[in-house]
Amino acid sequence: MSAVLSARGLTKRYGKRTAVDGIDFDIPPGRIVGLIGPNGSGKTTTLKAALGLIDFEGELSVLGFDPRTQRDDLMKDVCFIADVAILPRWLRVKDAIDFVEGVHPRFDRKKAERYVANTKLKPGMKVKEMSKGMIVQLHLALVMAIDAKLLVLDEPTLGLDIIYRKTFYQNLLEDYFDEQKTIVITTHQVEEVEHILTDLMFIRDGRIVLAASMEEIGERYTEVMVPPDKVGAANALAPIDQRTVFGKSVMLFDGVCRQQLGQLGEIRNPSVADLFVATMKGTYA
């Protein structure tokens, strides 16, 4: 099956500043892709271009549609949560469910009602009476009941406490995701998403600096705890990052044979967060 999302030379300029600088990527169906980068790196701009919210240069095809000209068709198969807590204040829970059922052909009312029943939300409640977490619960109940082929989540858990965040990702994985669906997530909280992602895309200054599946990353990158006496030998293999923990050097290697590294010390898979920090080194410098 062809790519759900494919970009060729995608560029977006705001005046003189280039937010997205000619990026290319393909996202096949059935993947959960984490689009990760520091503030202002172009993540949100990329997603907004894909959702037809802004104009751009280059080519971008989402489910075979051009989001600039075919947005109305595209939105039947795509859903997104752009930000938390953006439901209109006057909306009631029951009206929200009625409305989405009325306008969305792929909405499953029973599913939404089941999600709502598992929360403290009451049908007559207005959004302005809800806590931030409850608004997200309602938004999720609506979005997860939509059988969309592509779900885009831009910082979906920003400002939520840990309990909501955990349940959010749990629901996403257990009730929503399947082989036909694709999810694209951007977030700062890398640690929370790394166990659910199938693919990673690091973006920096409007360019993609790393795009790989989690398996590839596991094969490519290795972290080694190097005891002091072997630091010289380890440095010879050109680690991409290095830090010190309890007197031992923790070094990150890109594309170095694991057997070779095993002789230097204890090896393990690096966390996405460590990989991120190593890749983004100097961004804020």
Partner: protein
Amino acid sequence: MKSMKWLLRREIWEHKGAFFWTPLLIAAAMVILMGGGFAYSLAYGNAENIRFEGHDVVSIQGIPQALRYKIAHVAATGYLGTAAPLFIVLAVVVFFYCLSALHDDRRDRSILFWKSLPLSDRDTVLSKVVTALCVAPLITIAISVATSLLLLVVGMIAATGKGLNLFAPVLMEPNLYLSPLYLLAFLPLYILWALPTVGWLLLVSSWAKSKVFLWAVGIPLVTLLLLFWLNFMISPVAPMQIDIDFIGKQIVTRMLGGLFPGAWMSEVDGSRLRQLQDGLDAGVVLGASYRTLANPGVWLGAVAGVAMIFGAIRLRRWRDEG
């Protein structure tokens, strides 16, 4: 079509207070004040004296038949006039509704929720146009008719208390039943006259980042002032002057005042209305009002209104909400 139904319902959910409760509250206040006035006059007033057309009519032997029918005719024909305050409120409510219609959801970013659903920007904007031009006026018309009828009944009861029984002649008047239809017949004319205002307000609502009211009212007024100043400056040397009177009347009034019910009255041929001696004859006013469509101004205004609505749709489609 199905989406449109839900979009209209959404507007009602959001603006129930403005479109429904506001006129209802004012109607209730009118009934209490006017009805109370009638009841007071009934309880304490001089039963034999009725003021009519500036004369004290003294009835000792009861009211003369002819006068009784005349009063009944005026009451049955003009009773909807008592609801006039509701239509002034409608104009104000719809004015501010249009200003916020495409701005509020951008300000609180809930536009991103609406944009995550399969709703085209065209349908969204059109649903607001229909709400402003049809739904809100129809609600007000319904409340007005009910209020006026209620006041008519209260008034007739009060009159009965003074020995003037109007029930039979009023109920026999065909105008009693036709008046609500006349009122409805004004709606298409109202829509044509209101289109430039609704278009302009929606355009500003879709464009402005903040201070929608200032932009909407300020742009035309400041332009007018600048032109006035320009005229003043060039007047010693230039033979030609900008026709500010024309711009003010034909453009600015249509941009900002089209929602006012009876905006067309400025173009109505006054001589036709002079025949209205027996109270407000809706049929005559209706005819005279529709005759304003013979002037090109209203049509040009409507076309400009549609163009601005189109502009509002384009802006909503491409505006980057950050």
